[in-house]
Every structure is written in C-alpha cells, then in structure tokens.
C-alpha cells in the first residue's frame, strides 16, 4: 500500500478531509462534556442537600485505589501519545506496542475500579437502597453520595470500555496507517484523553472533597 493520502468526494483535498475530521471529533467531545454535565450538577445538588452526611459517605471510598487509578489513566494517555508519535515518525510496530500498553493500563483501571473497588463497596453494603449499611443521621446523605458514585463511575467505565474497543480497532487496522495517513489514530487518541479528563474531574468529586476540611 503506497503512502498517498486519498480523500472522499465532498472534500477538496486529503488535508481538507483531515481537518474536517478533527473538527468533528472536537465537537463530539464538546457534546460529550455536556453529557457529563448533569452528573456534575447532581453532585452539587446532592451535596448541598446535606453536606456533612454526603461527605461522610464520600469518606467510605477507597482513596488508595482512586489515586492509583488516576495515575494509571495519566500513564495511559502518555502511552497513547507516544504511540501516536511513533506512527507519525514512521514506526508502525512501536505504535502497536505503545497502544497495547495504553490498553493494558486502561484494563488495569477497569479491573481495580470494578473488580476490586466496586466489589468491596458492594460487600460493605454501600449500594443505596433498603440494605444500605450506613445507619444513623448520615444515612440519607451517604445514600445520595453512593447513588452518585455508582452512577458516575459506571458511566465513566462504559466510556472507557468504548475507548478500549476503539484502541483495539486501531491496533487491528495498524497496517493501514502511515506517517501521512493516520487520522483515525489521532482521533481515537483525542477521545482516549477525554475519558482521562472526565476522570480528572470525577476523582476529586468522589475521593477528595469529602475528605477536605
């Protein structure tokens, strides 16, 4: 396959098509940001309803896992960035290696989040409802926190799974990409980092604010 960029008929040039695609993904990400908007607003409402009880709920979370997960996502964005640079500088093999590494970090995040943290949360009876284990005056506020917690982390996790699927697709299509034609790699990278950014906001909302004085 030669390294000549082609383009679809509605565009003037391959460069035109690339620019358009990148604008498109940014607009999609803007839309995604608003998608998470209600989650942030519901955090504000739930916390304002009873700040001390809400924070008491937040302190039941596992801070260590939260920190490790944040670091994992930062590292995976880094890994993806290096993978992208690799294809830009012509090494398809190195791109695949780095993208696989990014995937592994993402999988590790999912494993820690859902396999370890969620499981222990559920075992501790922290899922809101009749069997919620926290009693006393903070019960309601803590339930609100955990309703927010399970919903937001599940949603973020789903995005990460979609992201993993996309990266896997890039890896499977690796042979198509060349230094001049790798727009899909770039686009998936933007989405990959965006998931990271969402987590950077969720992390303090879940783990830190409740522990701050």
């Amino acid at each position: 396959m030669s390294d000549v960029a082609t383009h679809e008929f509605q565009f003037a040039s391959a460069e035109h098509q690339r620019e358009t695609a990148i604008s498109g993904i940014w607009l999609f990400l803007a839309s995604e940001a608003l998608f998470f908007g209600p989650i942030f607003l519901s955090w504000i409402y739930a916390r304002l309803a009873d700040p001390s009880a809400f924070d008491a709920g937040a302190r039941q979370t596992d801070l260590t896992i939260g920190i490790v997960n944040t670091a994992l996502l930062i590292a995976s964005s880094f890994a993806y960035g290096v993978g992208l640079a690799s294809i830009q500088f012509g090494s398809r093999r190195r791109m695949v290696v780095w993208l696989l590494f990014a995937c592994t970090l993402g999988l590790a995040f999912l494993g820690l989040k859902f396999g370890v943290e969620w499981r222990s949360d559920l075992e501790k009876g922290l899922f809101p409802g009749a069997n919620f284990s926290i009693q006393g005056p903070t019960r309601n506020g803590a339930q609100l926190f955990f309703a927010f917690y399970f919903f937001s982390t599940a949603l973020h996790g789903l995005h990460l799974i979609v992201g993993l699927g996309l990266v896997a697709w890039i890896i499977s299509q690796a042979r198509q990409f060349t230094p001049k034609r790798h727009t899909p790699v770039l686009i998936v990278g933007l989405y990959w980092t965006f998931i990271d950014i969402i987590w950077l906001v969720l992390f303090p909302l879940i783990y830190l604010i409740g522990r701050a004085s």
Partner: protein, 320 residues
C-alpha cells in the same frame, strides 16, 4: 362568559390587571403586525403599479429603534410581574396557618384545632390564610383559579401559599401538576365564610371522632417519641443536670432567631422545625452538640405537622 369567576382576592385583581395590560400590549403589537402585513400585501402586490421609490439603504436605524422599544416595554413588564410575584409569595406575619397534605388523589386538610377535611378547605374571609403544604407521594399542585394562585406541593418539604378572600363563596380547587391516573379527580372546593360562620364550622362542622386538637395530639407524640427525654417536659430545654444532655429549649422557639453552628442565623419557622426533626444534622444549633437522631422515615407527614403544632403552642417558655 361561562365559568368566569371575578377574582375574590386583592392580589388576584392585581394579576388580572397585569394580564389585561399584557393583553393590551399584545393587541397593539398584533394590530401593528397584521396591519402592516395586510397593507403591504395590498399596496405592494406584484400587480400593483404603485411607485416603490428607491429601496432604503441603511437599515440599522430601524433595527436599533425597534430593538430598544421592545427592550423597554419588556423591562417594564418584567418589573411589574416580578414585584407582584414577590408580594404574592410573602405572607403577612399574622396569617392563619392551615396544613395541607396532598396524596394520590386527594387533598387532606388539617386545621389548627385538629379539624380535618378532605378535598375541601374552609377559610374565614378578610383574614390572611397561609397554607403549609406537603405531599406524601408525587408532586401535586394546589390551584384555586378564583384566587389566581397556585403552587406545587412537593414530597419531602414544605411549600407555602397565602391569600386573603374578600367575599364568602365556594371556589374550585384543582390539582394542576400531573400526578397519575386520578389527576383529573384531585379536585375540591374552597369555602370562604364569615368569621362567625367559620368558628361555627370549626366547632361543629368537622366530623366527630376526628376532632382532636392538633397541638394536643402533638403533645402525646412529644412524650411517646421521647422528645421530652432531652428537650424536657413542656419543651423547657435540657441540661446535663436536668435531663442528662444539653438540648435547646423549644418553648417560644417559633418565630425566634436561631444561630447555627455553620454561622448562619435563621428564623425558626415550620420548615426549620421540620428539618430539625427529620434531618437534625443539617441544622446543628450553635452551643449544643449535635446528638439528636433523625426521625426521617419514622413518623408520617401528618404526625410531623402535629409535633410542629405542639411546639408552636409552647409560646410561654422562658427562653432567653
């Protein structure tokens, strides 16, 4: 007009006047718009040979002037509507309070004296009435078209509504927030009567057997639920010496200013007392440790209302 009821409250007449003003403005604008369109349709129809002159070049003068005119009119309307709205939802201090609980699909009303009624509300005329309303299930809305007033009734909190009726009569009451299958049947009537008639009704009109003073019922709850264990008999307050724990006095609480541990100062009204009973954690009173348990989910809305009525009756306390 069929079904037209002239407003029987002062505020209602003011709302009518505002609506009339809006109607006049709308008619003027519509006349202008339709008039110009019709005029141009006739005068400038394709077949007409009328001289068109040169098309006007600069348009921004027109644009600025009609934008400014629109803005000015809108601003006036906003001020008018806003001012009236603020008055509409600020009850006079001496309002007679009546408690309303909405549930699928009926209105339950309880008067201070314990008289209860369903889908009906008896009120005296020429006296400000404040409804303290909550819901047992979904969101309802208490609406009396003849008073030109309505407000949503939400579960888990109190909303209030006030009015002063000027004429005796019977007026329609609607639920105007979709609340399920029986929404359309959640109607009733508001009966306004003169003060003597109202007192007559209070003493004899309410169904027998339910006629128990709200405050008296609240007093029983106060003892049965262990409130007196900390706050003392008659709500005099507790200290380590008397009841074993520090607890604020409740006598004379209603209407007073309370300083919270958060630093805010609030007036103790029904909402505040309700919050203190159901979510004491949110309203820690300055100077007392927050040790009171929450009663959320343990007593019904109606019982909370009775407790509040009792606490409000404790006016003669020696609170400093």
């Amino acid at each position: 007009m069929n079904g037209y009821v002239p407003s029987v409250t002062v505020e209602g007449r003011e709302i009518d006047f505002l609506i009339l003003a809006l109607f006049v403005v709308s008619c003027a604008v519509l006349a202008l718009v339709f008039g110009l369109i019709l005029l141009y349709m006739i005068r400038y129809r394709d077949e007409s040979g009328v001289y068109r002159g040169h098309p006007s070049g600069k348009t921004w003068r027109f644009e600025i002037s009609w934008t400014a005119a629109t803005l000015a009119v809108f601003f006036l309307l906003f001020i008018w509507g806003g001012d009236l709205y603020v008055r509409l939802f600020q009850p006079p201090a001496d309002a007679l309070q009546i408690y309303v609980v909405g549930k699928q699909w009926m209105w339950k009303v309880e008067h201070q004296g314990g008289q209860r009624e369903i889908n009906a509300l008896h009120v005296p005329i020429n006296r400000p009435i404040q409804l303290v309303m909550t819901s047992e299930d979904v969101i309802h809305d208490f609406s009396v078209p003849a008073f030109r007033i309505k407000h949503d009734v939400l579960p888990g909190r109190y909303e209030t509504l006030w009015f002063r009726v000027e004429k005796p009569g019977t007026f329609e009451l609607f639920c105007t927030q979709l609340c399920g299958v029986g929404h359309y049947s959640m109607t009733g009537e508001v009966v306004a009567m003169s003060q003597p008639d109202f007192e007559n009704w209070l003493s004899g009109g309410a169904p027998a057997g339910q006629h128990e003073d709200m405050a008296a019922a609240g007093k029983e709850l106060y003892a049965a639920r262990g409130c007196s264990g900390c706050h003392g008999e008659g709500g005099v307050g507790g200290s380590p010496e008397t009841t074993g724990v520090s607890a604020p006095a409740l006598a004379g609480l209603i209407g007073s200013s309370v300083k919270l541990q958060t630093g805010a100062t609030v007036t103790a009204d029904e909402k505040f007392i309700r919050d203190c009973i159901l979510t004491p954690d949110k309203t820690p009173v300055a100077g007392y440790p927050q040790i009171m348990p929450s009663f959320a989910g343990q007593i019904s809305e109606e019982k909370v209302l009775r407790l509040i009525a009792y606490i409000k009756s404790l006016r003669s306390g020696n609170r400093t």
